[in-house]
């Protein structure tokens, strides 16, 4: 146990120093002494949002929304497929009740052709279908979503949503946001330095689905106000900010276009009225569609609908062929800017709701770090005093090992790019308090063996050997608890678990291996006849 060949000493020392050096940038960084770009490149411990200040949002999409959206899409696709079939397959009585799409074929003889046309729509990418097709009474077709199809749809929607969220936040100009998916239908957004997430929440709180639909000019005003839509039309309310807030507009279900083929959206002002507007630019496909819509409907009113609310319903004065359009609707400069960001980063495929929000001011975080450091310093001094007073030379070994322990722990965290959180500071203090436990066990055992009359070297050797068992057992059980904490926790709590778990490993290394090497060196060199322990 006390035999340390040169190679062993060299490797122990090099690991120790290498890992300890890794801690230096983080230590200097905490003091704020150097701030240069080259220095920023060095690996440092990340500060969690609770220490650095910032916002954490957990966004959730409802799976029902995705399912409803998907049902709407398949309805469109089915209509299109039936219409484009050669010859056309006539269908009727379309319903989307109970999350199923059901419709009747006018001619039961079309059933085989209908099946054939629907096949590409219901087949999934894998072996399982995305929809189950069922025929009732020879002419009614019912499409039921399969669970595999639904989960693929949710996954696709969330992937796209995360991308839109990222684009929107980037356009807000905040630095280094973290955007990760969590579970099946959630997205975590963390933005360091953003103390007031209000603007962010507004930006993400809307899907920004833009639609252009023709106004149904035959609808009776009284019916529209009462919410009764004529056949083939639907009713949308005016947005609160628009000049016709409180009113409704009946628009034709079909024949409109969606504003998702945009290349750009910019806030601006109308040259005549000076009212804030948003200017959108379509891509070539969108421009063609928009040109067609405006050409075929000159002098007709059309409604600009955003997330199910009418912004305005102007008239196509002339065909719009240039692929760009101006949207007005009672905007302020801020709301125009916000809408421009939302439109240019694309619509969210599904609405997102904030289900958890945490934000911390940078001042509180800085205060926490300062108080935590002071408390840790006092605590360390107390532990060191106690150890040295109780175990003399062996207490000093434990103390030096403790110093290396803290440095290596910090260095490892920097190397692994781990995050230090407020509870993580408590984890550091706990590690300081518990790390010397190993040395207490060893030193008490050495005391005991000396009292039983063992020679110095034998006593130290037995001390390390016999105490190691309990030290390993204790650290492994702590590791189990720490690992479960990591699994269970999120954010700050996970930061606590990381410090505890890495701390256990560094403790085994410093308290067990380093002190043994030093004790062995001293015994070999000094050959003491007695030790004061």
């Amino acid at each position: 146990m006390l035999d340390f060949p040169l190679w062993k000493k060299i490797s122990l020392w090099s690991i120790t120093l290498l890992l300890a050096v890794l801690a230096v940038p983080s230590l200097i960084g905490a003091g704020g002494l150097i701030s240069s770009d080259a220095f920023e490149e060095l690996p440092q411990v990340n500060l969690g949002l609770d220490l650095a200040g910032g916002s954490h949002l957990l966004l959730e999409a409802s799976e029902e929304d995705v399912a409803a959206q998907r049902l709407e899409n398949i309805e469109e696709a089915v209509r299109l497929a039936m219409r484009n079939a050669e010859p056309r397959i006539r269908i009727g009585d379309i319903s989307t009740a109970d999350d199923k799409l059901s419709f009747i074929l006018d001619n039961p003889g079309d059933i085989d052709r209908a099946r054939e046309e629907l096949q590409p729509l219901i087949a999934g990418q894998g072996i399982t279908n995305e929809w189950d097709l069922e025929v009732i009474d020879t002419q009614r077709i019912v499409l039921t979503p399969t669970s595999a199809g639904l989960s693929t749809a949710i996954n696709t929607a969330m992937e796209a949503a995360a991308e839109v969220v990222r684009t929107r936040i980037d356009k807000l100009g905040t630095r280094e946001p973290t955007i990760i998916r969590q579970g099946t239908n959630r997205i975590v957004v963390q933005v360091p330095g953003l103390e007031d997430p209000e603007a962010l929440k507004e930006l993400l709180g809307e899907t920004a689905i833009l639609e252009f639909k023709l106004v149904d000019k035959d609808a009776l005003l009284t019916n529209v106000q009462a919410g009764i839509a004529p056949p083939g039309s639907q009713i949308f309310p005016y947005a609160e900010e628009s000049d016709r807030a409180g009113g409704f507009e009946a628009v034709k279900r079909l024949g409109g276009i969606r504003g998702d083929n945009l290349t750009d959206a910019r806030p601006g002002n109308d040259p005549q009225t000076n009212e804030p507007v948003v200017t959108i630019t379509f891509d070539s496909q969108g421009a063609t569609k928009f040109a067609k819509l405006s050409t075929e409907n000159v002098r007709e009113r059309f409604a600009i609908i955003l997330d199910g609310e009418v912004l305005s319903a102007p008239v196509f004065n002339e065909p719009i062929l240039g692929g760009s359009a101006q949207i007005s609707g009672g905007f302020t400069a801020e709301s125009a800017a916000k809408l421009a960001i939302q439109l240019s980063s694309g619509a969210l495929p599904v609405p997102l709701t904030v289900v958890e929000e945490r934000s911390v001011g940078a001042e509180l975080g800085a205060d926490s770090i300062r108080k935590g450091m002071i408390a840790m310093l006092i605590g360390s001094i107390a532990v060191i005093t106690l150890m040295m007073a109780t175990y003399g030379r062996f207490g000093i070994y434990a103390t030096v090992a403790l110093a290396f322990n803290v440095l290596i722990l910090l260095g490892l965290m920097a190397g692994l790019n781990a995050t230090l959180t407020l509870p993580g500071i408590a984890g550091f203090v706990l590690t300081v308090g518990a790390a010397v436990d190993a040395n207490v066990l060893i030193n008490e055992r050495i005391r005991e063996e000396r009292k039983r009359g063992r020679k110095v070297i034998a006593a130290v050797e037995t001390g390390y050997k016999e105490a190691s068992r309990a030290i390993w057992d204790a650290n492994i059980t702590n590791f189990i608890a720490g690992a479960l904490l990591f699994w269970f926790g999120s954010g700050p709590i996970r930061g606590f678990a990381i410090v505890l778990v890495i701390g256990l490993a560094t403790t085994i290394f410093t308290a067990l291996m380093l002190t043994r090497m030093w004790a062995a060196g001293w015994l070999r060199k000094g050959r003491p006849a007695d030790i004061n322990i």
């Binding site: 929000e357 509180l364 408390a375 106690l386 175990y391 408590a426 300081v432 066990l441 009292k451 059980t477």
Partner: protein, 329 residues
């Protein structure tokens, strides 16, 4: 230099003599704790109850207008808020639990939170928002579930480890002691109605780890002594083991305590609950290692044979074969 010896050498305290009264006391405390938790409940923070907690500093005041805040936020109609100072006198934390009727609505907590902050900053121009936690009912429910699962899993996992490393009686003893520690900590939080948050679960999980340290040290010594003194009656052997390891038990608990106390008193206010729980757990855990985990070994019938390799059928056959072959020669 004379070294400090907190625990004199060769103590011979008859710990086990009082095992029954202490066991009864512990059981009464565990029962009382669960009684408290079930009747009075735990003072769930926003993590577990849902709702909002906002921390504010009133920069131009020495003292935060607590009564007025309570009235202002209470007037919003979401029930009565918990308003208390937090650190300095001009810092407050305001907690608005989520009303039961909107518990299922995903965005309700955020909307209420926005309204609370807007109302306060609208009324007090010097109010600075230091932090805000808003948790919806669904997420809070998931936290409760995960917390319970993590606690149970941790206790069972470490008990299994002890079983593997020692004997089943030791695993049961450790599990029992842990159950006692966790129960009493929960009881304390219920008794004093301290805010029970995710941090406290982290504290309890670390208590599970650290409380076991002392237990393991004593168990390790019991195992050693069981092999060494095979004829010694068990109660005497346990007393010997506890006494022999007493200096370690005291020292390891003490080093942790002196490290924690400055954090408890001078550390960041947001960590108070976490550190207070660990500190309380430290005392409870040390007590349970000595007075619960070890005596249980007597009742579960640990014997010195537990650690001596048992003679298996194969051994017996081999022995018989050897005897037979000797008989032939």
């Amino acid at each position: 230099m004379k070294l400090l010896k907190l625990v004199p050498a060769d103590t011979n305290i008859k710990f086990l003599k009082l095992r029954l009264p202490f066991f009864v006391l512990s059981m009464v405390l565990v029962a009382a704790s669960w009684g408290l938790v079930l009747t009075q409940g735990l003072n769930y923070g926003v993590d577990f109850a849902g709702g909002q907690e906002v921390r504010l500093t009133f920069e131009e005041r020495d003292k935060a207008p607590i009564a007025e805040l309570r009235e202002l936020v209470g007037g919003l109609g979401y029930g009565s808020p918990v308003v208390q100072t937090f650190g300095e006198y001009n810092q407050v934390s305001i907690r608005v639990p989520l009303p039961a009727e909107v518990e299922e609505t995903p965005g309700a907590a955020t909307e209420i939170g926005n309204e609370v902050i807007a109302t306060i900053t609208g009324e007090y121009s010097d109010a600075r928002t230091d932090g805000n936690d808003t948790v919806s009912g669904k997420v809070a429910g998931e936290f409760r579930q995960a917390a319970l699962l993590a606690l149970i899993a941790a206790m069972v996992a470490v008990a299994l480890y002890i079983w593997v490393r020692f004997e089943w009686q030791f695993g049961v003893g450790a599990l029992f002691a842990l159950f006692h520690d966790v129960s009493l900590t929960l009881g304390l939080f219920s008794l004093f109605q301290l805010e029970f948050s995710l941090q406290i679960i982290a504290a309890i999980l670390s208590i599970i780890g650290y409380s076991l340290n002392d237990t393991i040290v004593i168990f390790d010594r019991i195992r050693e002594n069981l092999k060494k003194f095979r004829k010694m009656p068990l109660p005497e052997l346990l007393d010997l083991s506890v006494n022999e390891t007493l200096a370690r038990t005291v020292m390891t608990s003490l080093t942790l305590l002196v490290a924690l106390l400055p954090l408890l008193f001078y550390g960041p206010e947001s960590l108070f609950g976490l550190v207070a729980a660990i500190t309380a757990g430290l005392f409870i855990g040390t007590y349970s290692s000595v007075y619960l985990a070890s005596p249980i070994l007597i009742w579960l019938g640990v014997t010195s044979d537990s650690f001596v390799p048992q003679e298996t059928d194969v051994d017996r056959q081999e022995k018989a074969a050897r005897a037979a072959s000797r008989g032939q020669v």
